[in-house]
């Protein structure tokens, strides 16, 4: 399994949807037949286990593996629904200083033997948590929301990732919590505004969807539900694009009524 891909999901800013994105893309990729491991690097503030619905199944975590308390296989938690999806949880009773980049790299190399794709859920920030998370990455997904604060933090992150061009080949953008209505009335940053500053290619646009919150609390990644819910579909499309398939971006605009169109002409 030497050909595994390691993708780090990062953002700089907290709360924009890294963990949700990691869980959903991981689930979607596994549904497409790949052997996927999702790994939580937010040591001390772990959330990935909650979103995957596996919190009470965690016996060992990645710090245990690094410290030799257990073998890697003992720490991997198999997903309830999708057979080829596993999760490696972070430790909750420790903090980011518990591991260093070299140790994480060793762990990632072990994971690459077992899986096709390793998704690393990076914590917010730019210090050691971030540095450790990008230790073994081949590619990066940068998650932003259409807000200036998120874009500025992402810009910093992209700058730090570009400094490692030899290691991290592709840096791509996911815009989360898009509200097409607000963009149309110029109350929210448009995708063009964002890409003009960040200068990286978007790989996915995820609409703001309250179903995301519901599924998060249930511990069932939205991408696994068969329905046509927009956010779930967007995540599934991203998974396909990661695997090289060309999928056109969803039209997120709701159907515009006749009156609105009339107004737009005179605005």
């Amino acid at each position: 399994m030497g050909n595994a891909k390691v993708i780090v999901v990062t953002s700089g800013k907290g709360g924009v949807g890294k963990t949700t994105t990691t869980a959903n893309i991981g689930a979607a990729l596994a549904s497409l037949g790949k052997k996927v491991c999702v790994m939580d690097m937010d040591i001390g503030l772990r959330n990935l286990d909650i979103l995957m619905g596996l919190e009470n199944r965690v016996v060992y975590n990645l710090v245990d593996v690094i410290e030799g308390t257990c073998k890697l296989k003992q720490a991997l938690v198999k997903d309830k629904k999708v057979p080829n999806l596993c999760m490696l949880a972070a430790a909750q009773t420790r903090d980011k200083t518990a591991v260093n980049a070299e140790q994480v790299l060793g762990l990632i190399n072990e994971l690459k033997e077992e899986f096709d794709i390793v998704l690393v859920d990076c914590p917010a920030g730019i210090e050691s948590g971030f540095q450790n998370s990008i230790a073994g990455a081949d590619e990066a997904l940068v998650v932003v929301t259409p807000e200036m604060s998120s874009v500025r933090d992402a810009d910093r992150i992209v700058g730090l990732l570009e400094a490692r061009k030899e290691q991290i080949g592709a840096v791509r953008l996911i815009v989360n919590r898009v509200k097409p209505g607000l963009i149309e009335t110029h109350q929210m940053m448009s995708i063009e505004d964002i890409t003009e500053i960040l200068a990286i290619d978007p790989i996915g646009l995820i609409p703001d969807d309250e179903d995301v919150v519901i599924s998060t609390n249930k511990g069932e990644p939205l991408a696994l539900l068969d329905s046509n819910k927009a956010a779930g579909q967007a995540y599934r499309n991203i998974a396909k694009r990661i695997l090289g398939e060309k999928v056109p971006f969803m039209d997120l605009n709701k159907k515009v009524g006749f009156l609105k169109k009339l107004k737009a002409i005179f605005a």
């Binding site: 810009d155 910093r156 700058g159």
Partner: protein, 244 residues
Amino acid sequence: MHYKDKIYFMLTQIPIKKNKKGTFLDFRNEKLSSLDFLRDFQEQARDLSMFLSGSSVSIIINPEFKNDEKFDTTIRSIQTELNHENISLKAVVDSFESTESLIDNKVQNLPMSAEEKSDSTKQEILNTSVLPETLYVESNLRSGQLIRYPGNVCVVGDVNPSAEIIAAGDVIIWGTLRGIVHAGADGDREAKVITMDLSGGQIRIADKVAAFKEIRSKDKKKGGIKVPELVKIENNDIIVKRYF
């Protein structure tokens, strides 16, 4: 020389000034006769060698210091320290103008190489510094990246919000400026900033500051197009002029 990716140079504590005549170290704010000065200068000379090793500099002193009893020994000590770092002392002047250069007669007695003797009589002293006068950057500057340079800075690319350029000379941005630019950072009010698209951020020239409103795409669609602009100080204030 082209510099890509990481570009960061530290200015030393001593203001470094440059004009057509060459590179000058400005000692007018230093207590040249004190013991502390010479001790500190030893360290600073080491920093200076990063920029100036292999080249020659002149120093600017206050006119009164010429008559100080410690003048000769101080100048010789400075010269010794500079020589340690492979920097030669070309001349000592008591003023810095863009066109003028006074050469003190007393200093003519200092040992100079034959080459330098002939140079010092010319009015135009050639800039023999190893460091290029303008730093050329061919990439975007991202948030959190900082360029500090004792000369002009030319960026072919955008300067993103919270990216910073601190230059002793002019700053030219062939791209969109959204970040922070400080031209004439040593106090040169003649410095200017030229940018293809002034779309936010903050421009400082010498000791003046001006902040600019961000132009979003919606404004551009309503007819606000990108216009190259020149920013400089006129009548004591920063003004923006269309370049064409």
